[in-house]
């Protein structure tokens, strides 16, 4: 490398390091506690709650991951490879449970099943896992469906010619080829489960994330809580590593020209069964929650005594906060993804460090951010009376810390699909890195960028713990309203904001679907 190119690389490094440092600081502030572990606390935890935390975390993770993979992959194969009435529309509708937050599905099913199952049985890990599977399977479904489409007709035809039946073709050809996509979808599901607070609390599931809050807010021992949080981080790292492992050696292409998968017609009876399966899933995951919420709204009307500002104010706050956090995460994530690609393995490492927040439960991120910003407030020469903690800026920053990974990984995945030759030719023709990024890389990855934006919006719209702890005065999101009602078990009063949240979420899901559809068209 010449000195000149080295100098040219400086701004890229600066951007990478700056973004990583800013975003990882609040997590590292907490993580620093691990350097001086409090052995006593760990011994105590091990003697009391820790074994159960580990057991329940592993069990819940296994159940939800297994359920989501099974449901997501099965539905994806059904929709991608078969023709049945309503397939196209239903195929898209199967993504809509993403707009239903786990804690909303949770309280709806908690109440609905309390009658038939009894109150003791309904507050269990099993029903909690059920609610989580219903709201999280679309992550697997989306990835799996795209992967099956990419497997193409050729490979499947070949398998059939070689005498494989439909089941065998699926198990021996389609499934192995879709493995990396399933791993990616599964990783998203796993992260959501590991960091979930709202749903596990509803069902008394004592996961590690719940334990971090227990230790922190029960004993006020910030040190011990931070150490427990790093245990969670270790679990996340193990998961991500195994996802990489599953992806490894998976860069197979089908060779030659690939024709996208053509769905096969089904016998009427089978088509009927397929239709029934899809409809059942939709009714359970979306239909029942919507109907119950509507029913509750009818019961209490729009008069909710405990909330100020009304629906308009809350919708506006939600859109502003989620919008600002999504756009910022997307821009920072894009810059990071673009610059990391040119920085080799050290860059990749920084990219991963910047994603730490995604492996942390919201409240942990929130308190890390509070500590960091409060320290800044003390040293920065801010105009008197203005502080970062409790400002819109502080809130958006915390959300970016938590969700940057979604933007970064999403854009990164899109850039993976841009042929390196295209980028190289642009550079050879004298286009600088920034210009190449803006005119070649990002435009070509535009649908991945749009999809990342939609996923960010879906996540930030339903975010609760960070918003609750850091929102400025007069900024009350729909999620906060839901919390205020559900923390008093006033399900009916939580119905209106829940419905509004699902509606806003549906808009984001719509954006996601458009992005994916167009993206698929461009590729084929």
């Amino acid at each position: 490398m010449t000195t000149l190119t080295r100098l040219r690389a400086l701004p890229g490094w600066a951007a990478t390091i700056a973004i990583t440092a800013v975003v990882a600081a609040p997590i590292l502030v907490l993580g620093a506690s691990v350097l001086d572990p409090s052995v006593e606390v760990w011994v105590r935890l091990w003697e009391t709650r820790l074994p159960r935390m580990i057991r329940e975390t592993v069990l819940l993770l296994g159940l939800v991951l297994g359920g989501a993979l099974l449901l997501g992959t099965g539905l994806a194969w059904l929709v991608a490879a078969h023709r049945f009435p309503g397939r196209r529309v239903l195929g898209w509708l199967l993504v809509t449970p993403l707009a239903v937050p786990g804690y909303v599905a949770g309280f709806v099913w908690l109440d609905t099943l309390s009658g038939p199952l009894g109150i003791r049985a309904v507050r269990s890990l099993w029903v909690g896992a059920f609610a989580l599977v219903l709201t999280l399977y679309p992550y697997v479904y989306l990835f799996a469906r795209a992967a099956f489409r990419d497997v193409g007709t050729n490979a499947l035809d070949a398998a059939r010619t070689l005498g494989h039946g439909p089941v065998s073709t699926f198990l021996r050809v389609a499934l192995p080829m879709a493995r990396p996509a399933l791993a990616a979808g599964g990783a998203l599901v796993a992260m959501e489960v590991l960091t979930d607070i709202g749903t596990v609390r509803l069902f008394n599931i004592g996961t590690l994330a719940d334990g971090v809050l227990r230790v922190w807010f029960g004993t006020g021992d910030r040190q011990a809580a931070a150490e427990l949080a790093t245990a969670l981080l270790v679990a996340a790292v193990v998961l991500i590593a195994s996802e990489r492992l599953l992806r490894r050696g998976a860069s197979f292409t089908t060779g030659g020209t690939t024709r996208p998968l053509v769905p096969q017609p089904m016998a009427p009876r089978q088509a009927g069964i397929a239709l029934a399966v899809v409809l059942t899933v939709l009714v359970v995951a979306v239909g029942v929650p919507l109907l119950r919420l509507l029913d509750w709204v009818g019961e209490v009307g729009t008069e909710v005594a405990t909330v100020a500002g009304g629906l308009g104010h809350h919708v506006r706050s939600t859109v502003v906060v989620a919008g600002a956090a999504s756009v910022t995460s997307l821009v920072a994530g894009s810059v990071l993804a673009l610059s990391v690609r040119r920085r080799g393995s050290a860059g990749r490492l920084l990219g991963r460090v910047s994603s730490l927040g995604y492996a942390m439960p919201g409240p942990v991120v929130a308190v890390g951010v509070v500590i960091t910003l409060a320290a800044l407030d003390r040293v920065l020469p801010l105009p008197p009376g203005s502080v970062l903690v409790g400002s819109t800026l502080g809130l958006v920053f915390a959300l970016v810390v938590r969700y940057l990974a979604v933007g970064y990984q999403g854009v990164d995945a899109g850039l993976d699909r841009v042929p390196p030759e295209t980028v190289d030719s642009a550079r050879v023709l004298g286009s600088g890195p920034t210009r190449t990024a803006l005119t070649v890389e990002l435009p070509q990855a535009r649908y991945a960028v749009l999809a990342a934006a939609a996923l960010l919006a879906i996540d930030t719209i339903k975010e609760l713990p960070i918003t609750l702890l850091l929102r400025p005065f007069g900024v009350d999101t729909l999620a906060v309203w839901v919390w205020q009602a559900t923390s008093e078990s006033l399900w009916a009063q939580a119905a209106l904001p829940s419905l509004a949240m699902v509606a806003v979420g549906m808009a984001a899901v719509g954006g996601l679907l458009v992005a994916l559809e167009r993206g698929a068209e461009v590729r084929s």
Binding site: I119, L213, G218, V307, A374, G385, L442
Partner: protein, 381 residues
């Protein structure tokens, strides 16, 4: 595919960004114009005669303030962090009506708000902190986050046992955590916390998880009153009865109604709310520990923060809440007023008289860590 059009992407993103900015502007604008001050009448002077600032505040024009974000609160605004959120808003509105001082507040769980206060330190925008529990306010006091007040109104109205010795916090209302049971299935309900461990109640108990401050404070009081060893034995005997853990007092009472359990430990005001909706709700209160220390008493408490930007208004809010506003503050949630001479809500009068355990209240904070430890030790969920 050939023609990369960044403009198209821009076109897609720009409206969203624009929308966000516009909406943000709308939001800020709306907050910047507080409600017209319709409280500038004589009653303001009367109520707030002891604080000179208040007069000036009531006269000052609120419309020039820019009250958005975490920026300094306008002069005549008091900023509150409150762990109690149910029905608090109308009470604040009454305060504004009476004094002309606007209230802006944010909610959160007690310990989360304490962490925020701790992190903000000198820079906190909060003038007043309110909790739904005695331990959390005492722990905040211990951490040096609260200001000691010297107020005759407060020390005259709030009984000594229900306020901090050093004047850093004051109870406003009392929450009594007692045994509540099914009138239909139990003739002679238990009357002590220890009795809940009786094998008779195996599988018939509903308890709130140990994550909740109410449970922690109840066990802290047991430690104080019975000694650590006996408290551990008692709580372990509850756990042995395989309780259903439900993180909502209302739900526990509904579980009794539905027949899922027969006895629960819950705050009395939750029954007050349910009885207000349906006078025939089939659950009754068994006033607990009446022959010994009295029923476990927790409090809704308030304090002025040590770094309050507007401590005068903060103190004024506390004084108003402890006097003119006390009945509304307590009644809105069916709690017992901290001032024992103020009549509680009607539905509470119907529950009958009882002996409360006031003596423990000040010590709940100091015993909190031990309580959390004990709960973990015996495997209470």
């Amino acid at each position: 595919m050939r023609t990369p059009v960044p403009r198209r992407v821009l076109r897609a993103v720009a409206p969203i960004a624009l929308l966000a900015v516009v909406l943000a502007a709308c939001g800020a604008e709306e907050e910047a114009v507080p409600e017209p001050d319709d409280a500038e009448d004589a009653s303001v002077e009367e109520d707030a005669a002891d604080t000179e600032d208040a007069d000036a505040n009531a006269d000052a024009d609120a419309e020039s303030d820019t009250g958005d974000d975490a920026a300094a609160a306008p002069e005549n605004t008091v900023t509150v962090y409150t762990g109690r959120h149910y029905g608090i808003e109308p009470v604040f509105e009454s305060f504004t009506e009476a004094t002309g001082i606007e209230v802006r507040f944010t909610t959160g769980s007690d310990p989360e708000l304490r962490e925020r206060l701790l992190a903000e330190g000198e820079n906190t925008p909060a003038d007043v902190v309110m909790t739904a529990d005695a331990a959390n306010i005492a722990l905040s006091s211990e951490a040096g986050l609260l200001a000691a007040l010297d107020s005759e109104v407060l020390s005259d109205t709030i009984p000594e046992e229900l306020r901090a010795e050093d004047g850093t916090w004051y109870a406003l209302s009392r929450r009594i955590r007692v045994i509540q049971y099914s009138e239909e299935r139990l003739d002679t309900p238990p009357t002590t916390y220890a009795e809940l461990g009786d094998p008779e109640y195996d599988g018939r108990l509903c308890l709130r998880p140990s994550t909740h401050p109410y449970t922690q404070s109840l066990v802290a009081a047991l430690i104080r009153n019975e000694g650590a060893e006996e408290a551990e034995r008692i709580v372990a005997s509850w756990v042995a009865n395989d309780p259903i853990y439900i993180n909502s007092d209302t739900d526990m009472l509904r579980a009794i109604e539905a027949g899922d359990c027969d006895v629960a430990l819950a705050n009395s005001y939750y029954l007050g709310r349910l009885k207000a909706e349906d006078p025939d709700f089939p659950v009754a209160i068994s006033w607990t520990e009446q022959d010994s220390v009295g029923a476990h008493t927790n409090i809704s408490a308030a304090a002025v923060t040590a770094a309050a930007p507007n401590p005068e208004a903060g103190q004024q809010l506390l004084e108003w809440l402890a006097s003119d506003g006390l009945k509304e503050f307590s009644d809105v949630n069916f709690e017992y007023p901290a001032a024992t001479d103020v009549e509680p809500a009607e539905v509470l009068v119907g529950f009958g008289a009882f002996e409360p355990d006031h003596a423990s209240v000040r010590e709940l904070g100091a015993l909190n860590a031990e309580s959390v430890d004990l709960l973990a030790e015996v495997g209470y969920e």
